[in-house]
């Protein structure tokens, strides 16, 4: 019976990983460079489950055929005897994965992490390494939040980007530091898995912040202007349109 449960759990875990990979929600958890690895793991776990099932069938047949003369060999598959509680543990990832709707990290996770808004050294800074390929996105309208922050960090002058047009997608974040006409359009950057997710964001000036739902995804278009936020002068995105949008299929930004 335990063996059967083991087989089911191994295969279930494999199928679970595969389903997340196929419906694209795997990118809510880990960097896409792990996709192939996850695929191999899903196949490997399913194969292991099948090997177990076949071993088990052979074993059962073997036991019945040799009940008298082969006592010592009977239990060999049961060697690492895992308790029922242990098996229950094994089910946790699949059960949680099935019961809880897959969602990328959002504003609630952000409260626990430092936010990188560009040029304030007291915040966790410089996610983008020097000499990164991010430096060469010439068309301002195609830069994402990370590209902008990277540019801001390289320039000591907050006014250096005044007047450049920007078009970015992110989720809405606000806390006590923001005035009524400000919010932050935010993303998480991920270098491995969501355990290392670091929030970044652009401060947006927009008169209608009251109608925005926190944590909802928006598309912001406007121009960059140097403004004062929380006592520090920094480049800010002055919006001329903020419109709701779908969660992107790649919710995180990668360095």
């Amino acid at each position: 019976m335990k063996q059967t449960v083991k087989v089911i759990l191994l295969i279930a875990l494999g199928i679970f990983l595969l389903s997340r990979l196929l419906n694209g929600t795997l990118s809510y958890y880990i960097h896409p460079r792990f996709n192939v690895l996850t695929l191999l793991t899903a196949v490997g776990l399913t194969a292991l489950g099948l090997v177990y099932a076949i071993q088990q069938r052979k074993q059962a047949a073997h036991n019945r055929a040799h009940e008298h003369d082969h006592d010592h060999a009977h239990e060999h598959i049961h060697s690492h005897d895992v308790s029922w509680a242990g098996l229950l543990l094994l089910a946790i990832p699949v059960v949680l994965g099935l019961l809880v709707e897959p969602r990328p990290l959002g504003a609630s996770a952000l409260q626990n992490r430092e936010i990188n808004i560009g040029n304030d050294v007291s915040l966790v800074s410089a996610n983008a390494p020097e000499g990164s390929e991010l430096s060469v996105i010439a068309n301002a309208g195609e830069r994402n939040i990370l590209d902008w922050l990277y540019l801001f960090q390289r320039s000591a002058e907050p006014t250096a980007f005044d007047g450049e047009e920007a078009h970015v997608v992110g989720f809405v974040y606000q806390d006590d530091r923001f005035a009524d006409t400000q919010f932050m359009v935010s993303r998480f950057t991920v270098s491995c898995c969501v355990a290392d997710a670091a929030p970044i964001g652009l401060i947006v000036e927009w008169p209608d912040t009251a109608v925005l739902t926190p944590d909802s995804w928006v598309e912001v278009t406007g121009t960059i202007q140097a403004r004062t936020f929380n006592g520090v002068q920094m480049p800010v995105l002055v919006a001329n349109s903020v419109s709701p949008t779908e969660t992107p299929s790649q919710p995180y930004l990668y360095q």
Binding site: Y28, F34, R57, K58, H62, H76, D81, P93, V100
Partner: protein
């Protein structure tokens, strides 16, 4: 065993048919049924719990699955290596290659990562298996602590992130030094007080000795089964570790930690605690460490890169599957103190 089975397979079938209820067939039916139900669940009820239920819980689940999914491939790889070692490495040849004297043995252990390139999740089942093959305790400890860093993948990723410099050199030299030292310390303890007794050892060995003449495919078959056992055994610790790490990350604000440390000592403490809590894989932690370079001392970055791969929440939990509890405590404290000693010294005296 397969030989035995094949020889008797007609008889087996007969017995199977004669039995009123055929157990294997019924089991297969159950498995198939369960798979179908699972597929239906995955297909039909992806949103069983409303998303607004609890933001924190949602965050917790996302981080937990993130850590788990990222680590599972490495644990599976480690289990497969463990299975292959069990079947293809015999005690005598292992004993031939491992030096007898304490100092060279611990040194070999700390460089063994180049022979078995595994990261911090994979290293645990491999170490356990090598112990069953009679690896000396000190060598295993040095291997366990150093292998997550001392391997080609981590070498390259650290080089890509930091280039040639004190961080790269320091990471590798200090990891070897600490693993070597801790290994040497354990040299003086009797093995049966270190490693958990292996319930299966005796007869599994008999069994595979018996199967040794059965040809290559049969031995791969056995390796697979052992890998499955090892995986199921260790993945439980990985799951508990991931749950703990995700809980910490969901409820303890990182800002508390980061604002805590800019001094030569406090920055080291902050980064070591961060490494312990984050529990990210050693193959990629260099990229994360890079984002702390501007706000943290070089010593503390090194402490993150040296201590993190040796010990973090999830690997500490997995150690519990191999070692006695007291030993796990030492395995956390010794690297912690040594790393702190070295990196605080660097911060105070060298000014890297």
């Amino acid at each position: 065993m397969a030989q035995v089975k094949e020889k008797h397979s007609p008889e087996v079938e007969k017995v199977g048919r004669e039995t009123a209820v055929s157990n294997p067939a019924r089991n297969f039916g159950r498995i198939l049924g369960a798979i179908v139900i699972l597929l239906l669940l995955i297909g039909i009820f992806p949103n069983l719990i409303p998303s607004g239920l609890n933001e924190k819980f949602q965050t917790f689940v996302t981080i937990f699955l993130g850590i788990f999914i990222e680590a599972v491939p490495f644990l599976l790889a480690g289990s497969l290596v463990s299975g292959l070692i069990e079947v293809f490495v015999d005690k005598a040849s292992l004993a031939r290659y491992v030096p007898k004297r304490a100092v060279p043995a611990a040194f070999v252990g700390s460089l063994l990562g180049f022979a078995f390139p595994v990261c911090e999740c994979g290293v645990v089942p491999v170490t356990r298996r090598l112990y069953q093959k009679g690896l000396p305790v000190s060598v295993g400890i040095a291997f366990l602590l150093s292998a997550p860093v001392i391997n080609p993948v981590v070498l390259v990723s650290t080089y890509v992130a930091f280039g040639w410099g004190p961080v790269l050199i320091g990471r590798f030299v200090f990891s070897i030094l600490i693993a070597f030292t801790v290994g040497l310390i354990f040299q003086f303890a009797p093995p049966d007080e270190i490693v958990l007794p292996q319930t299966d050892e005796g007869h599994e060995h008999d069994h595979f000795a018996m199967g040794a003449g059965n040809g290559r495919s049969q031995r791969f078959w056995q390796a697979f089964t052992i890998a499955g056992d090892d995986f199921i055994d260790m993945v439980r610790y990985l799951i508990i570790g991931s749950i703990l790490a995700a809980t910490m990350q969901t409820f303890v604000p990182q800002s508390t930690l980061i604002s805590f440390g800019s001094g030569p000592v406090t920055s080291v403490v902050a980064m070591m605690v961060l490494a312990f809590v984050l529990s990210i894989c050693s193959t990629v932690d260099a990229f994360l460490a890079l984002s702390f370079v501007n706000s943290f001392t070089t010593g503390s970055i090194l402490s993150f890169l040296v201590f993190g791969p040796m010990v973090d929440i999830k690997s500490a939990l997995m150690f519990l599957g191999v070692f006695r509890r007291r030993v796990v405590l030492y395995l956390i404290l010794l690297p912690l103190l040594l790393t702190m000693l070295i990196t605080v010294f660097i911060n105070l005296n060298l000014g890297w």
